[in-house]
């Protein structure tokens, strides 16, 4: 299948990242192999509530932070 979908440029965790246009945040989280229940997402410095991850479409230039819990003191 030829991928003719339009790609968007976003910043994901500080690094440039390409995503397919029409992608929702939840789609990206799953594409990254992550469990949406174990992460938190910030989009353009605003928290995206977990309940709406499946509703919010990614847009060109979005700055996304996806975080989780790691070991720490």
């Amino acid at each position: 299948m030829l991928n003719t979908a339009v790609a968007l440029s976003i910043i994901l965790n500080g690094e440039p990242h390409r995503v397919t246009a029409g992608m929702r945040i939840a789609d990206l989280v799953r594409e990254l192999g992550l469990n949406p229940k174990k992460v938190a997402v910030e989009r353009n410095l605003e928290i995206v509530p977990r309940s709406t991850l499946g509703d919010v479409f990614l847009e060109e230039g979005d700055q996304l932070e996806i975080v989780h819990f790691v070991g720490g003191g």
Binding site: L12, N13, G14, E15, H17, L32, G33, L34, K38, V39, A40, V41, E42, L45, I47, V48, P49, R50, E65, I66, V67, H68, F69, V70, G71, G72, G73
Partner: protein, 271 residues
């Protein structure tokens, strides 16, 4: 009843029901442990079991986008079994700390958090101006912040007034293992506080933890002392025992201090 010592009840009532409460949540273990610096997750999990801790601190960091197979803390330490206390380690402004904890609340779904706003990398001493400001904002947003702070009774009071659900003075700089440097200020904080006081940072070995508890602290928080011991799991157990021993000693009430000797055997009847 064989084996009982004359005059003693069959069992000495131990304080097994001795618990403490922070922001309405009650815990039996008075030891809170960090989850950083361990060799691997297996060792971390084993030390946690040995410590008997019910609360663990965790950091909030970016997910590894490039390595999808990287093991996750939550795979080894069950957030349903242990209370995850997200921290703001590495934050040097109130804004950074608040941003981190908003994400933590979204990731974890709970309000109980550990706030620390650092002043400089060399000492990792808290910036109390920023810490106080962050505490006020977090409390207004519904967070329940347990707050890392200097060992200053006035600062501790101000944090309490600002909405801290626990104050957590340092015993010595983070990761230094130097032990409790100022017993007087820790005691004064304990005497003046209406919220739980926990020594956070500076514990190096078991006796340091016992000292904190003997001073009347509700608990002790530590990471490096266990993680950097030659045998972390064994040290975790030592810390469990030290916290329990220190607590029992505090409840028992220590003897008064004398300047000179006082014989334990009677002087009367000496041959």
């Amino acid at each position: 009843m064989s084996g009982a010592v004359k005059g003693l009840p069959m069992s000495i009532p131990m304080n097994n029901s001795d618990s403490w409460t922070v922001a309405g949540r009650t815990f039996t273990s008075r030891l809170i442990v960090g989850t950083g610096k361990y060799k691997d997750f297996e060792q971390n999990a084993a030390a946690l079991v040995a410590s008997g801790a019910e609360i663990i601190t965790v950091a909030v960091r970016r997910v590894n986008v490039s390595d999808r197979k990287a093991p996750m803390l939550t795979d080894y330490i069950d957030p349903k079994k242990y209370t995850y206390l997200p921290n703001t380690a590495g934050c040097f402004t109130a804004e950074d700390a608040i941003r981190t904890l908003r994400l933590a609340r979204e990731a974890g779904g709970w309000e109980l958090v550990k706030l620390e706003v650092l002043g400089e990398a060399k000492t990792l001493y808290p910036d109390m101006r920023e810490t106080l400001r962050a505490t006020e904002i977090l409390a207004k947003e519904g967070f329940l912040p347990m707050v890392y702070c200097v060992d200053d009774p006035i600062a501790a009071k101000q944090l309490e007034e600002a909405g801290a659900v626990a104050v957590m003075p340092l015993g010595a700089p983070i990761g230094s293992g130097l032990g409790i440097q100022n017993r007087v200020t820790i005691r004064l904080i304990v005497e003046g506080a209406k919220v739980p006081v926990l020594v956070d940072a500076g514990v190096g070995t078991a006796s340091d933890a016992a000292v904190a508890m003997e001073l009347g602290c509700e608990g002790v928080l530590m990471n490096t002392a266990i993680a950097e011991a030659k045998e972390p799991v064994r040290m975790a157990r030592a810390m469990k025992l030290a916290v329990e021993a220190g607590r029992e000693a505090y409840l028992a009430g220590r003897m008064g201090r004398r300047m000179y000797a006082d014989p334990s055997s009677p002087l009367a009847g000496l041959i």
